[in-house]
């Protein structure tokens, strides 16, 4: 227990472009809501939609 590392959870948002299926993972920002339009796609002129929001734990 003395040497156990503290775990922290980082929230991520996964966006998917409905036009070209390009997937982008970025850090979650307040106001992100599932299935909502998020940002302009990097590879085409489509608008990315938030596909998933999840947390990943890392040891500090």
């Amino acid at each position: 227990m003395m040497f156990s590392k503290k775990k922290i959870t980082i929230a991520y948002t996964v966006e998917k472009c409905p036009k070209c299926d390009m997937i982008r993972k970025r850090a979650f920002t307040e106001g992100d809501v599932l299935f909502s339009e998020s940002s302009k796609c990097n590879s085409c002129d489509g608008i990315s939609v938030i596909e998933k929001i999840f947390g990943e734990s890392i040891e500090q």
């Binding site: 929230a11 996964v14 307040e30 809501v33 599932l34 909502s36 998933k52 929001i53 999840f54 947390g55």
Partner: protein, 377 residues
């Protein structure tokens, strides 16, 4: 080197003073602890156990204070109130619920439902009284944070009471049940404490997998509010009519799916019902594993499940379930990647279940059960 560690020539009689020429000092060393443990064994155990329980209580006290402070700072920051809400919030935190008498169980479900809903309704109105222009999204979040803080407060009070009673009476057997149940209580309390950031920021939690699956199926279809905080969308799938039901997102609510189902079956002949929910995994089971079964998959105090079972029995509608397994902590904290990745697979299983169990022209109700925080439709 090995010869130095040769223990084969040890004289045990000499070592423990048990030969004929018995050493009285060594006899005392043997006998004293026996006498001590016979007469004071329970007190020693009480002392040792108390230390462990005290640590747990200290942690619970920290959770209680932390959740209260988080709630107050959230309300102050987001509602921009003229007056300090601390006093009012402290009063809300002390609210208790007296469950109905169950000596005569006849009609107990309606009574429990009445009390639970009254509590929810009045809590909602009290929060609204802090800031009448508050949005429903903010209101549901504060209501959940209040529930968390209130639950942590009551857990702390009960555990502390049990501990102090045992200490006061110097009664070791009284502390045993607490020692046995404390790890489970701590697991729940830690999960609740870690759930606060997700509810504050409106992120989906593990329990939201059901609403997430159905919410995606509802996208681009006309939605209506069919019961309190419950959304319905009607769609077609390979000749079948689908009634898609979930709590109204992205607020933090579970809605009232049983009331919504009652409305649907009163006007339409339903052939099957499919419920998608998060389920507690057993120890050793993989997290985010998906399983299919029969019966109403819905948690809570049991009133919603009772109502759904009564409706489906009276109308002879089979109920199928798909559950995504997870731990208590995963269910109420930010959704893990493993659970989020199962949303597409679960949705495919729903469509497969519809194909396998219905014919073209039939009607299906699909219910996404769970807290819909961060999950719209």
């Amino acid at each position: 080197m090995l010869s130095l560690l040769d223990f084969t020539n040890l004289d045990f009689d000499q070592l423990f003073g048990m030969s004929d020429d018995t050493n009285p000092l060594m006899m005392l060393v043997w006998i004293l602890p026996i006498i001590l443990f016979v007469f004071y064994g329970q007190r020693i155990q009480l002392f040792v156990t108390s230390g462990e329980i005290k640590k747990g209580i200290k942690k619970l006290d920290g959770f209680k204070e932390e959740s209260r402070d988080e709630l107050i700072s959230y309300v102050k920051k987001n509602l921009k109130l003229e007056n300090d809400p601390t006093k009012k919030i402290d009063r809300f935190l002390d609210y208790f619920t007296i469950m109905p008498v169950d000596m005569d169980p006849n009609g107990i479900v309606d009574k429990v439902q009445h009390i639970v809903r009254s509590r929810e309704d009045y809590t909602r109105e009290h929060i609204r009284s802090l800031s009448p222009q508050i949005s429903n999204f903010e209101l549901t979040k504060i209501q959940t944070l209040l529930e968390i803080a209130s639950s942590l407060q009551i857990i702390y009070k009960i555990v502390n009471h049990m501990f102090l009673t045992a200490k006061k009476q110097n009664n070791y057997p009284l502390i045993l049940p607490l020692q046995m149940i404390l790890p489970f209580i701590m697991e729940q309390a830690e999960a609740m404490n870690e759930a606060i950031p997700a509810f504050k920021t409106g992120q989906p939690v593990g329990d939201g997998i059901g609403p997430m699956v159905v919410g995606k199926m509802m996208l681009d279809h006309k939605k209506e509010i069919t019961a309190f905080q419950t959304a319905l969308a009607k769609t077609d799938f390979e000749g079948r009519t689908l009634f898609l039901l979930k709590a109204e997102g992205p607020g933090s609510t579970v809605g009232r799916p049983a009331d919504a189902l009652e409305t649907i079956v009163s006007g339409t002949k339903i052939d099957i019902i499919i419920m998608i929910d998060a389920a507690l995994k057993m120890e050793g089971e993989d997290s985010a594993s998906v399983a299919q079964g029969f019966g109403a998959a819905i948690g809570g105090v049991g009133t919603e499940r009772f109502q759904i079972e009564a409706i489906t029995t009276s109308k002879n509608i089979p109920v199928f379930s798909i559950v995504v397994k997870q731990s208590v902590k995963e269910a109420i904290t930010l959704m893990t990647k493993e659970i989020a990745d199962k949303a597409d697979d679960t949705r495919l299983q729903v469509y497969e279940m519809i194909r396998e169990n219905t014919k073209s022209g039939q009607s299906v109700v699909v219910i996404g059960v769970g807290n819909t925080v961060g999950v719209p439709q």
